[in-house]
Symmetry: C2
Subunit: 340 residues, 2 copies
DNA sequence: TATATTTTTGCACCCGTGTGCAAAATCACA
DNA sequence: TGTGATTTTGCACACGGGTGCAAAAATATA
């Protein structure tokens, strides 16, 4: 077969080709594609027209290589069982793309793999790494910060106090205070706190705040249970184990869950395995306001994080060249439904 | 402030630095990082040691630029309301990464944006684009194939007959035949098919197969309804509209849903708005086997796609340099639970 | 030890674009 | 029309590594 190139592959049209076609230099062509570049409108439109005709688009690899700015971020996720991750990924990719940023999705398989995942991302020379998983403990963060060339390491939707890290999250303390208030004022008196895995300091924040607030109000420390991952299926197992066979008098009257993933599993068990009603027998609260919360089946009272606002702030952080403390905690909103 | 470079940024260690440190040429250093390269074991380990000490890792941008192979794929998604997308993203990113491929996650905001999204990906010179959305109609595919430089355009988990496209999907026809058989043999006689949006030819496949099979068996064409997106919330609305106020005799005895997202919405409505029991009053089947299907609340009878196998095949396709017909349909598995 | 064979290493050139500056072109105004 | 101010354009050099081949080194063979 002769050396025929399929025209729709258009594999090697560069700025030079466009430049030659209209008799300008390559640099002029690239300028036409650059916002705020010093180029006359006439030339620009001439370039764009030719580029369009030839099917030219600038090569972002080469641009990144030459400028040391890729407009690419790595999004590291390790917790796909939590439906809230889907919401976060949607929101982040949408807003990032709106501002010209692309997203490398890295599935951190497990704790041991986190280092590799980060290394992997660093080889693509991303401008920043955004962590929305749970298994990133201090050790992993150190690895990331140590040898690698991330300009910015951002912990999104989780509070982190790590000094070289940027934390963009909801204000857990005030959120849990609000939830505690809601629970107390609605007459619940025997709460059980359903916590997620204790892999990272930040996670204790919600639990501790709740227990602390409750103690301050009533002088007793509520019971709590721990689920090894933010996975409704695992939450089912834990709740089953903790509540099955309890005398009615010792049953909690409300399950305060660290997030919706746990709350959803809890509701399923309470209703279908324990045969109890929600909220009459046991009420439930969550955190995140995942789409399922709206389902009449769950109608989950929960706390919504201002994800869009947080993502917009993230973009500001990415585009800022200052070197200040970017940590920020946002206020969310308690969404009262019928589960509590 | 003097020009002090933070050591942990390690921003410009190149193969040259490593080469100089141990007295070899740059090319030897890069060879050490390349599998199957012709290099002596001694030299390689010397290089690796030095690289490790200096914190050097090859720059994949430069490698991609020079070799015209990026080991990067774009994953285009537009349908984040469907929980199955989360499963697919997890599986794909996991398996791709296992084989050394990175994933660019592109959120195709809406139909009109699909073209931009594809252009965007092409500018990163990805080796292939993988579509797991629904809004990619023939027009969009043409755009993608036309001016852009994708080596491969893959439609994943959906059948496509587009000639320049690679379709890796489950065999919809045989799957729906199996479901039809299950439904018929379990005594259901008044099915209603709940379909998704009619944006793309492939989507009619499941519906048409079901209606066709049913007609062949019983001589009647079942009723059907259409939901404008694979979103449980929208499915709730449609099912409510279609079933509310119907005399009992005209109620379907089973809802055969095009996928789980629709089935889940349907179950919620049937139970909580219509006050009927599942499966006694109305049974439900889905498609995909999302994690929620296991919940005792849904216990959804559904059809599981062999996602891992499909993803592994995808990698084979990516790594193949032949130019043959890669389309392939996989057999999945009917998962019987108590919803039907 | 000399020669043939194989393995290992070095190198010229290329991938496609950004940066800062100097040259050229255009414009403003007397 | 001439001069200076301003905009627009061109260019040398850089970004970091891949490719194929030739030179050099190591090994095998006689």
């Amino acid at each position: 077969m002769p050396d025929v190139r399929r025209p729709n592959l258009a594999s090697n049209i560069t700025a030079d080709d466009v430049a030659e076609a209209i008799g300008v230099s390559r640099w002029t062509v690239n300028r036409a594609f650059k916002k705020d570049a010093s180029i006359s409108p006439k030339t620009r439109s001439k370039v764009m027209e030719a580029a369009n005709k030839l099917g030219y688009v600038p090569d972002l690899r080469a641009a990144a290589l030459a400028s040391d700015r890729s407009n690419l971020v790595a999004l590291l996720v390790d917790d796909f069982a939590n439906p809230h991750k889907l919401v976060m990924m949607e929101r982040l990719t949408r807003i990032l793309r709106k501002h010209g940023w692309d997203t490398l999705l890295v599935n951190t398989l497990d704790r041991a793999d986190a280092g590799h995942a980060i290394l992997n991302a660093s080889q693509r020379r991303v401008d920043a790494a955004i962590l929305i998983g749970i298994q990133f403990d201090d050790e992993v963060l150190e690895t990331a910060l140590h040898a690698r060339r991330f300009h910015k390491l951002i912990i999104f939707a989780r509070t982190s106090r790590h000094p070289n890290t940027i934390s963009i999250a909801v204000d857990d303390a005030s959120a849990m205070q609000e939830i505690t208030g809601y629970v107390a004022e609605h007459g619940y008196r025997r709460p059980l706190f359903l916590a997620g895995p204790r892999t990272y300091s930040a996670h204790l924040l919600r639990k501790e705040t709740f227990l602390g607030c409750w103690e301050a109000r009533f002088g007793t420390i509520p019971e709590s249970a721990e689920v090894p991952a933010y996975d409704p299926i695992l939450a089912e197992q834990v709740v089953t184990r903790v509540l099955t066979g309890r005398p009615r008098a010792e049953m909690p009257d409300i399950l305060v869950c660290e997030n919706d993933a746990l709350a959803i599993g809890a509701i399923d068990v309470i209703r279908h395995k324990l045969g109890l009603r929600i909220p009459e027998d046991i009420a439930v609260t969550g955190f995140d306001d995942v789409p399922q919360c709206q389902s009449p089946n769950y109608a989950l009272t929960t706390y919504r994080q201002p994800l869009t606002e947080m993502a917009e702030y993230l973009v500001d952080v990415l585009e800022s060249s200052e070197d200040r403390d970017f940590d920020r905690a946002f206020k969310g909103k308690l969404i009262a439904r019928t589960s509590a």
